[in-house]
């Protein structure tokens, strides 16, 4: 039995890996920066004495995804929990002027996420057991001029997870969608914001609890459900005039 962390080097992913390792689960850390994945694996081994594995994972290299899933299962056993945590915001302005930049954001946040989630889900459905946690974003709830390329990819991923949840339900496999607001990571560091920024360690605990309780969709920090509720009900005729 193992926990697969995809995009392991982000502070939230590392914190979630820690929460599972603390419970004694074997954890596999997959990331583009393999050296860093190895350091995080070493850290979990020293702190919690669990079995760990690490390896290269590039969201855009679809052909390598199946081999990675096989590798994890042969090394650490059946994947019981998979966290899809990788993502890349890109630069909105660059995405508007350079189609290849826009495509990269879509490939990482949507295509890559779908590809690896499908492969893991297939394994879990065969065993009628497992949990997939997908990290989406509040940016995916409504398109806004400031980051709609990234937002649309994350929104599409949330929609995909909804369908996957529906498909997996009969086999007892669970899918949790996490819509992240501001968490204290590289993305928000140095940002001037009136909205409080959540600590990655607190986020990890809340996400793990929600997954264990079988929640379907959560916002974190929780108050973002209210914020996005307001944003989602605004009439489009008004919303298109705003600068949010």
């Amino acid at each position: 039995m193992s926990v697969l962390i995809l995009g392991a080097t982000s502070p939230i992913a590392r914190a979630i890996a820690g929460v599972y390792a603390e419970e004694g689960h074997a954890v596999y850390l997959a990331a583009r920066d393999v050296a860093e994945a190895e350091r995080i694996a070493a850290d979990l081994k020293v702190r919690f004495g669990v079995r760990t594995g690490f390896g290269a994972f590039d969201a855009t290299n679809l052909d390598a995804h199946a081999a990675l899933v096989e590798q994890v299962e042969s090394e650490l056993g059946a994947i019981e929990v998979a966290l899809v945590a990788f993502g890349d915001m890109g630069e909105q302005e660059e995405s508007e002027t350079d189609p290849s930049a826009a495509r990269r954001v879509i490939d990482i946040n949507y295509t890559g996420s779908v590809s690896v989630s499908e492969l893991v889900a297939q394994k879990m459905i065969e065993r009628s057991s497992g949990t997939i946690i997908g990290l989406s974003s509040v940016a995916g709830d409504r398109g806004r001029q400031s980051n709609y390329i990234y937002g649309s990819a994350k929104g599409a991923f949330a929609l995909y997870l909804q369908g996957l949840r529906n498909r997996c339900f009969r086999s007892g496999v669970h899918v949790l969608t996490v819509k992240l607001g501001f968490v204290d990571t590289r993305m928000t560091y140095g940002m001037e914001t009136a909205i409080p920024v959540a600590d990655p360690a607190d986020a990890a605990l809340a996400i793990k609890r929600a997954a264990s309780r079988g929640e379907n969709e959560m916002y974190y920090p929780r108050f973002w459900r209210g914020i996005m509720g307001v944003i989602k009900v605004m009439p489009e005729a008004l919303f298109k005039r705003l600068n949010l």
Binding site: T9, P11, D33, A35, E36, R39, I40, A42, D43, V46, R47, T185, R186, Y189, G190
Partner: protein, 455 residues
């Protein structure tokens, strides 16, 4: 990923002085290298948990690298106790992880909230200095990002000069990325301790001489009292307890943790709490709370080692003016008496003062501990009169052949520093060899003439 530099006002634990800098928070090692190469011509300095008191971790308008996210534990050998960690790992994390397995850091200061990088930069000491020396004595294989952009591994065998300059080097030789520290075996989280009420300074020295077989000694001292009771206090001595000792949590700790949940000490920031009257009252009460003679007890390690950690942000109680710590070591007992006299006569009371006799070891470079008695005193920032008194204390310290602790300092002059630290030139020569262009600087280093400006 380009380095994000956020304009931030930084302060040390004493909250005096304060300086703005451009601050980055690397999430991984690679980011530190990027930050150094993207410093844009500005000087660079690492900042850990901000527990050095003065301006050691500040650099006005410079580029500051926070190490708090560099906290991976990389390797541990349970046979020997050697632990390899990134520089942002805190002593609290080490204790929480390894005490259940029977290991404890070899040296701990008065707070758990320091990073291992900061511990090496200040070459910290603890209550066991007379037995175990300083933090640097238990460290090997330091990974240092130096001015050239290279990562150099140094210790007593590899690049020994660079290692010597880095231990106690106050962050001015480079950014410490990781190190190995040798944890010591302990059998329980408890401390067997004795509290001895001492009625004056002579009694303190008597009890201190009688306590050589205790691994940990420290004494609280009342700096308000004058005359025959000058130097009265509570002498605490202890050792890690054997496995079968039970320690109860104290009701005070429970109260403190309850209080933390309902209030934030930062909201209590006021210059009114700590004044001459309240400090006098506290010192009287503290002395009275311990019965006369010797009291034995077994206590949990937290109240023994880290009594002040019970109150987060207690430094805010000094108000927006901040406070200054004065910690010195003097080889002669008469100088201790003279210093206490100057302080009690000044009427500027120290809320909390501790006194301890160091072991005989001198650690060289800019390291602080050496043979003699150390006093550490916290003063509300009374401004000019306080700074003037500290100048007078400097003179007493120099006359006795002592020095003040740079990790606590915010005001020492260059001339007096040079008298206190005769090895400064040798230290600077090694430092300058590795960083000829003064890429690594701090306000403290500039003030003491160690970096920047004219050579």
């Amino acid at each position: 990923m380009k380095t994000q530099w956020a304009p931030t006002k930084l302060e040390g634990w004493g909250r005096y002085p304060r300086h703005s800098a451009w601050v980055a928070r690397p999430e991984r090692m690679k980011d530190v290298e990027n930050a150094l190469s993207e410093r844009d011509g500005h000087p660079v300095l690492a900042y850990g948990l901000g527990r050095s008191y003065g301006d050691a971790a500040l650099i006005k308008d410079g580029r500051v690298v926070l190490t708090q996210r560099l906290n991976r534990m990389l390797d541990f050998d349970p046979e020997t106790g050697w632990l390899r960690v990134e520089s942002g790992v805190s002593l609290k994390e080490i204790i929480d992880t390894f005490l259940p397995r029977g290991f404890f850091p070899p040296v701990v200061p008065g707070t758990q909230f320091v990073t291992v990088g900061g511990a090496l930069g200040c070459n910290i000491h603890g209550k066991n200095h007379h037995v175990d020396g300083c933090w640097g004595d238990h460290v090997r294989r330091v990974e240092l990002l130096v001015a050239s952009g290279d990562i150099v591994i140094c210790d007593r065998e590899r690049e020994p000069e660079l290692f010597w300059a880095t231990v106690g080097g106050m962050g001015m030789t480079g950014v410490i990325l990781s190190l190995e520290v040798k944890l010591e075996r302990v059998e329980s989280p408890g401390i067997l301790m004795e509290s001895v009420r001492v009625n004056n300074l002579d009694e303190f020295f008597e009890v201190s001489a009688d306590s050589a077989d205790f691994t940990h000694t420290v004494s609280w001292v009342d700096c308000v009292k004058q005359g025959a009771s000058m130097g009265r206090g509570i002498f605490m001595r202890g050792r890690h307890a054997p496995a079968d000792v039970q320690t109860g949590a104290s009701p005070l700790d429970a109260l403190a943790s309850f209080a933390q949940r309902i209030l934030n000490v930062r909201d209590l920031e006021s210059n009114l709490w700590l004044n001459k009257a309240t400090i006098k009252l506290f010192n009287e009460a503290y002395f009275r709370k311990t019965p006369a003679g010797t009291t034995s007890s077994s206590v949990h390690y937290v109240p023994f080692f880290f009594p002040l950690d019970a109150v987060d942000n207690w430094n805010y109680l000094y108000g927006s003016r901040g406070f200054l710590q004065y910690q010195m070591v003097v080889p002669e007992k008469d100088a201790v008496r003279e210093i206490l006299e100057v302080i009690s006569n000044s009427g500027m009371a120290s809320f909390l003062a501790v006194i301890k006799e160091f072991g005989d070891r001198d650690h060289g470079g800019l390291s602080f501990p050496s043979r003699g008695t150390t006093l550490a005193l916290d003063f509300p920032n009374f401004g000019t009169p306080l700074l003037d008194m500290m100048e007078r204390l400097d003179d007493i310290v120099i006359a006795s052949g002592g020095r003040v602790y740079l990790g606590k300092d915010a005001r020492l002059s260059k001339a007096k520093f040079r008298q206190m630290y005769p090895e400064w030139e040798k230290w600077k020569a090694v430092r300058d060899e590795w960083d000829p262009n003064y890429i690594f600087q701090s306000e403290l280093g500039r003030r003491l003439g160690l970096v920047g400006g004219a050579k």
